[in-house]
């Protein structure tokens, strides 16, 4: 055949091959096989699992049920229990979904782009029922449009109420309405183009839904998504040290915090904190209408020296945190030891926000080694006891948790892990001896998960530390990343799958999975009831036990009941603590009206209720008699010679001084030391 014809055929084949990767859905069976071969307890591929995937998938493409209609869902019913027969060509399911999605998306875009003002704010009897608004699909297209009408109306009224103008004209409400339409449109388009526009993106969401159906920590990552995580934590000389992304509800959140960075050093931020507001001297970001990339670019701009980020923690607490641009030095010790002192005893305090390990995986440089160094410096200041704070620490490196436990025990087993091969492994302390042998208190709460729980459980089982706080999160599983190949012909992986392959067990064979670690001494104020834990999620790994027990020699039992009683008595007599409990009770008791009236006359009352509730969330009850907090003489921050860093240090000290749980942990440790001394 002639050269020309040959070239055309080659050309055609080339495009067909690319086409076969990008325009048709790929076989989902390798993904399922990969998960089944590594998952700790893979569910059976039956109609129940199919239903879970179906629901999870719909939730991810339309989390607030405001894009698809009831009619659309009905048309997809045949797939609910039969997804496993479509694994080979998921397009059979995904193409119809995508088509419906694009159609409805366009309907909404058309409505939002239309400059018509179809709400009469003075006479409106539109109502928004928050109990059902995000939980029910609109019946049909007309109801879909009405839903968006209400959303825009609500946002307009909210905006109106936020300005303090008492006089507003028709023109004001009209222009606000159109502004809200535009803002909502841009936010919708932003989320759409990032994640849901193409068939491939829908397929990615579907694959993630398959992964999540096995358990909440198993997920599917496209190669891009995985790189985004690490890319943001810049290796630049200066920055803020946070990476920003979005959670499943399309809200901004902190995805990662670089150890040793200014963000890290505030000791107020944790991964998964929701970002409610973000601003710097020149502007406030409109989080609705800004893309993640735009925010990242702005944060990398060296001219911006300081940002204020408003975060909401897992239990609902809202805080404003100031971050000053500074050096991000990965070599520098990211752990800061402090000294608590009420003129009686010096007790060391070390907060560990996450179990980080160093970038080049040199174990000697991970967080356990950094903590050991700080402990040695604190010992030089003659501390009589030590508090390790793991509140909100969601975990991290398993090895670092083992090494951290090793600091406080002489030698022996620390934890056991098991995989689906059912040959449990015992993990031991790598160094014989203790780097610190004195009284130890570990502070935990419902945000302490995974590696934090491993550490607390081991300290509890050895009678080595007093565990103080509230019951922990309940994640006792370990995840690893596995590459996914479409088939044997492809040498580079198509994606990355994080799979829950192992479960942690305590030394007696029991596990804290879905239950958490119960503190020896519970100190609570009611916030702990507001936090969402592992057992609140769907499809979690159930709690289990293994027969194997590790042999170890615990320390002498600690006087837990006595110390617990002393703490209870002290808190019962503390007027500010009682006030704190009442305050949090008032938040839980507060019932915001579920029916929001969308008219000018009636909305302001609702708005005031909302403000009242927000104020409750941000209010802090001060501590009665705060302890003194100082740096030790080898604290790196003291010698920074920089005004800003010194001020940041002072802010940290102030923050710790006024933390009631740290104060109470100090008192408990003090009681403990006294009991030990009196028994000698």
């Amino acid at each position: 055949m002639s050269l020309k014809k040959l070239l055309i055929i080659v050309f055609f084949l080339f495009f067909t091959r690319i086409g076969s990767v990008f325009s048709q859905c790929i076989d989902a069976r390798p993904l399922v096989e990969l998960i089944e071969s590594h998952h700790y307890h893979p569910a059976k591929k039956d109609s129940a699992l199919s239903t879970q995937i179906f629901n999870q998938f719909l939730k991810s493409i339309d989390p607030n049920r405001r894009i698809l209609t009831k009619e659309d869902i009905s048309s997809l019913e045949t797939y609910r229990t039969t997804l496993f027969s479509h694994l080979k060509s998921p397009c059979e399911f995904l193409k119809p979904v995508h088509k419906l999605f694009l159609k409805r998306h366009q309907t909404i875009v058309d409505y939002l782009s239309d400059e018509k003002i179809d709400v009469d704010f003075n006479n409106s009897n539109l109502l928004l029922n928050t109990a059902t608004f995000n939980k029910e699909y609109p019946k049909d297209e007309a109801e879909l449009i009405n839903k968006w009408r209400k959303i825009i109306a609500y946002r307009t009224l909210h905006q109106l109420a936020s300005t303090n103008d008492t006089i507003y004209s028709q023109a004001t409400t009209d222009s606000l309405f159109l502004i809200e339409k535009r803002k909502t449109l841009c936010s919708l388009e932003e989320s759409f183009s990032q994640e849901k526009e193409t068939l491939k993106q829908i397929e990615d969401l579907f694959f993630d839904a398959i992964a999540n159906a096995y358990d909440p920590h198993t997920s599917y990552f496209t190669i891009n998504k995985k790189e985004q995580f690490t890319e943001q934590l810049s290796k630049e000389a200066t920055g803020f040290g946070i990476a920003i992304g979005k959670n499943q509800d399309n809200e901004f959140r902190i995805v990662a915090i670089q150890p040793g960075s200014p963000a890290w050093n505030t000791q107020q931020l944790n991964v998964d904190d929701k970002i409610i507001a973000l601003k710097h001297a020149q502007k406030e970001f409109d989080l609705n209408c800004t893309s993640q990339q735009a925010i990242r670019n702005e944060l990398n701009d060296k001219a911006i020296n300081q940002i204020t980020i408003t975060i909401q923690k897992k239990d609902g607490k809202i805080e404003d945190v100031k971050i000053i641009r500074g050096k991000i030095d990965v070599e520098k010790n990211a752990i800061q030891g402090l000294i608590l002192n009420d003129n009686a005893k010096k007790i060391g305090y070390i907060a560990i926000p996450s179990f980080y390990t160093s970038w080049d995986n040199n174990v000697a440089n991970g967080c356990a080694n950094d903590v050991a160094k700080e402990i040695l410096k604190l010992k030089m200041s003659n501390i009589e006891g030590l508090i390790i704070d793991l509140r909100y620490n969601a975990g991290g490196s398993f090895i670092e948790a083992i090494n951290l436990a090793g600091i406080f025990i002489d030698f022996g087993p620390i934890s056991m892990t098991n995989t689906n091969e059912n040959q449990p492994d015992v993990h031991k302390d790598l160094n014989r001896g203790m780097a610190y042998s004195g009284p130890l208190t570990v502070l935990v709460n419902g945000g302490s998960a995974s590696a934090s729980e491993l550490f607390a459980a081991t300290m509890q089982d050895y009678n080595r530390a007093l565990i103080v706080g509230t019951t922990t999160y309940g994640k006792a599983s370990g995840q690893s990343f596995y590459p996914l190949f479409i088939n044997q012909n492809y040498k580079t992986p198509y994606a990355s799958v994080k799979i829950t392959g192992s479960v942690l067990y305590r030394l007696d064979g029991s596990s804290h999975q879905a239950e958490g670690v119960t503190p020896d001494i519970i100190i609570a104020d009611g916030w702990e009831n507001l936090i969402r834990k592992e057992s609140d999620y769907k499809h979690v790994l159930p709690n289990s036990t293994i027969d194997k027990k590790a042999k170890y020699t615990p320390f002498e039992e600690q006087p837990v009941s006595q110390l617990s009683e002393m703490s209870k008595l002290r808190l019962a007599n503390d007027s500010t603590h009682n006030e704190r409990i009442r305050h949090i009770q008032s938040i839980t008791d507060f019932e915001l009206d579920s029916i929001i009236p969308l008219s000018i006359a009636d909305f302001s009352e609702y708005f005031q209720q909302q403000n009242y509730l927000n104020a409750l969330y941000t209010k802090e009850i001060p501590v009665l008699k705060p302890i003194n907090v100082t740096n030790h003489s080898y604290d790196n921050r003291l010698f920074s010679f920089s005004e800003e860093e010194n001020n940041a240090n002072l802010t940290t000290l102030e923050h710790i001084k006024n933390d009631w749980q740290i104060n109470e942990a100090y008192s408990i440790t003090n009681d403990f030391i006294n009991l030990i001394n009196s028994s000698k």
């Binding site: 080694n369 022996g412 160094n431 014989r432 001896g433 042998s437 080898y634 790196n636 010698f639 010679f641």
Partner: protein, 343 residues
């Protein structure tokens, strides 16, 4: 390791070296089982003497090989021995015992001890080593007692009188050697525990792993103290307390290092890092902002660091000198001791 093995051999070798009075088939049976015992006893003595007198590795190995060959032959012969009146348990005990001996000599510890269990339950290589020695020793003891019981049982059943031949020179020498090795072993293991622990500390020091340094040094202090306590309860051996005293000297060195010297070396690592941070920050500071107070802070950090370096270096040099001298003396004392008490 060789030195320790020998003890276990000696437990058994003595047992087989008995004279038997009485006639009849049961005696012949016993003799069959006992076929090689004289040779084994002689070769065991030759081997253990070579080890005690620190002969060349080649010589020791030659003797070991010869002993293994003797035992292998014995095993072959014993396997051929039939049951006595339907009961093969005595022969099996002898066989079991000979096999264990052979395993020890060929270093196949796995055949005697459940190494996997030891590995899992032991904290580290050092503990594993000590445990294997202990367990192998205990198993050998058990095997020889078993054999002893079986022989007595057999003797009772067939009315054989068993008398120990006290004039046998080989037997006496083996007894003496056994006593010596037991004594030596006890002190050696006390020495070894602290010796190995110091090695772990020095390794951490070289790697700059501050956490490991602190943990291992604290352990060194407790092992040295624990060892010194144990030594207090041990007496001289036949009037010779040279080994005891030398071990004490070594442990006191380790105790002093761990409690007084090494903590300063660990602190140095922290001071070094601190100084580097201070210097970097100071250098970054614009000259205008360098107040007298800041300059003083900077100078203090330098002085602190410098005196720390000097201290580190002198402790290091001193430790290396002392250690090398002491270990040399220890090795010489150990050689002299074993050589002296094995005739």
């Amino acid at each position: 390791m060789k030195k320790v093995n020998v003890i276990m051999l000696l437990i058994g070798a003595m047992l087989l070296n008995t004279a038997i009075y009485a006639g009849g088939n049961p005696v012949e049976y016993l003799n069959q089982l006992n076929a090689h015992h004289q040779e084994i006893a002689k070769k065991t003595l030759s081997y253990t003497t070579a080890v005690a007198k620190d002969k060349s590795g080649r010589k020791i190995d030659k003797k070991r090989t010869s002993l293994i060959a003797e035992i292998t032959n014995a095993i072959k012969e014993v396997k051929k021995v039939k049951d006595y009146e339907g009961d093969g348990s005595l022969r099996d005990s002898v066989l079991n015992y000979l096999e264990m001996n052979k395993s020890l000599l060929t270093n196949e510890y796995a055949k005697i001890v459940d190494l996997e269990a030891v590995a899992e339950e032991s904290y580290d290589m050092m503990e594993a080593y000590l445990r294997v020695q202990d367990e192998a020793n205990a198993k050998m003891q058990l095997a020889s007692e078993n054999l002893n019981d079986k022989v007595r049982e057999f003797a009772n059943t067939y009315d054989i009188k068993i008398v120990e031949n006290e004039d046998d020179k080989v037997s006496l020498k083996l007894k003496q050697a056994s006593r010596m090795w037991n004594y030596y072993n006890e002190i050696y293991l006390i020495f070894f525990k602290s010796f190995k622990q110091e090695a772990y500390f020095l390794d951490a020091l070289n790697r700059g792993d501050v956490n490991a340094m602190e943990q291992n040094n604290n352990s060194l202090a407790s092992f040295a103290n624990e060892g010194l306590e144990k030594l207090k309860k041990i007496k001289a051996f036949d009037g010779d307390n040279s080994l005891l005293e030398k071990c004490k000297e070594v442990l006191e060195f380790y105790k002093d290092q761990a409690e007084n010297k090494y903590p300063k070396m660990i602190a140095f690592n922290l001071k070094k890092e601190h100084f580097e941070n201070v210097k970097a920050a100071f250098d970054k500071m614009p000259k205008k902002k360098r107040t007298q107070a800041k300059v003083d802070e900077y100078n203090n950090a330098i002085n602190d660091y410098n005196s720390s370096i000097n201290e580190f270096n002198s402790i290091n040099e001193d430790a290396n000198k002392k250690r090398s001298k002491l270990l040399d003396k220890w090795n010489k004392t150990a050689s002299k001791f074993t050589s002296k008490h094995v005739k």
